[in-house]
């Protein structure tokens, strides 16, 4: 009966469901949907140091969002451990393009050749995990939002800054995909 939950959701189910979190948070407590502010809140909570940017009352501003984030982590756990997993059915073209770059394990949600504790000690694993993570954190703080805050919340409210940011997201993603990943995965 619930088998559909663990099948591949069509885009026209997944997308609108995601979009509904914007009105859900607004209607609940006049909160603007956006995940990346939590990275700032966590910095403010853990290690504000002498940095002006992190000197604010994170409990007052961000507690609701940190609680939401804790839920996100739990939700991922429930989704993964609550039922059978299937491999991600990516297009054959992507599969062969990645195979040419030296990836051969297509099980799971992320390539085991890059995202395991052991891979962390390889250059390509380090770049994917540590360098990639750093750029995500730096970029999203600089841009003032991520895919949720800019691409979904911002575009839905017709904000020009968000459109600029989203164009940047794709520019950076294309540069990394076509000019950086080939070296990271293949040559190094």
């Amino acid at each position: 009966m619930t088998a559909w939950i663990y099948s591949e959701w069509p885009w026209y189910v997944a997308g609108p469901l995601m979009g509904l979190f914007v009105p859900a948070l607004l209607i609940t407590g006049n909160k603007v949907f956006g995940i990346s502010g939590n990275l700032s809140h966590l910095c403010a909570a853990i290690a504000p140091g002498n940095v002006e940017h992190f000197r604010y009352d994170w409990r007052k501003i961000g507690l609701w969002n940190l609680v939401f984030l804790a839920g996100v982590l739990i939700g991922g756990f429930v989704a993964f451990h609550g039922g059978p997993q299937h491999d991600i059915a990516i297009s054959p073209a992507t599969r062969s393009a990645l195979a040419r770059l030296g990836l051969h394990d297509f099980h799971g949600v992320a390539p085991h050749e890059l995202f395991t504790w052991r891979a962390l000690l390889t250059l390509r694993g380090f770049v994917s995990i540590v360098v990639g993570g750093f750029l995500v954190g730096f970029g999203t703080a600089y841009a003032g939002g991520c895919t949720s805050g800019h691409a979904i919340s911002g575009l839905a409210n017709f904000q020009l800054p968000s459109l600029i940011a989203v164009i940047g997201f794709f520019a950076g993603g294309l540069i990394a995909t076509y000019f950086i990943l080939p070296f990271v995965l293949g040559g190094l």
Partner: protein, 174 residues
């Protein structure tokens, strides 16, 4: 404890009649102490969102690669339909002039454009990381619970990135 509704929060670049949001604290111009029952609602909404992100496969490095290689419509369909759904919802909420359940007039702070450099430069830097890790901030956390526990390292690195931005902020063009 509670702030009068008329007061604006100035830590995030607000202060005008229309509160403005500069991105530092993600999204609330009139922070008030959130009641515990609401925190429970945010937790449940977060669980639902994490579940949806996971089942929608947007947490997959492979899906992100497929998107940046333009080899499937799927991610574009997901993001596009999410934006359209959110936009229609926001328009309806504005038109109806709804109050939130917590009793506030629903208002979405506008983002300050300024020179726009932060959005172009920050966005591009974020995009580089998005393609390398195959995850944006939401999925980073979902992945920890979804069979890729070592993403905890990427989260720590992302926190370091955010911290370095905060430190370098006075010296960066915005």
């Amino acid at each position: 404890m509670s702030t009068p509704p008329s007061s604006t929060f100035d830590g995030c670049g607000a202060g005008s009649p229309e509160p403005q949001f500069d991105g530092c604290g993600a999204g609330n111009s009139q922070p008030q102490a959130v009641r515990p029952v609401f925190l429970a609602v945010y937790l449940l909404l977060g669980v639902a969102f994490g579940f949806v992100l996971s089942r929608a496969e947007v947490i997959s490095w492979f899906r992100i690669q497929e998107m940046f290689r333009f080899q499937s419509f799927r991610m574009y369909g997901i993001i596009g339909s999410a934006v359209v759904t959110a936009a229609i919802s926001v328009a309806l909420i504005k038109r109806a002039g709804l109050m939130s359940v917590s009793g506030e007039k629903i208002a979405i702070p506008r983002k300050i454009l300024g020179h726009g450099i932060r959005y172009a430069a920050g966005g591009t830097i974020f995009g580089l990381g998005w393609a390398l890790t195959g995850a944006c901030p939401g999925p980073l956390f979902v992945l920890i619970g979804s069979g890729v526990p070592m993403m905890v390292v990427a989260v720590v690195s992302a926190l370091a990135g955010t911290w370095v931005y905060g430190w370098a902020k006075p010296r960066l063009p915005h």
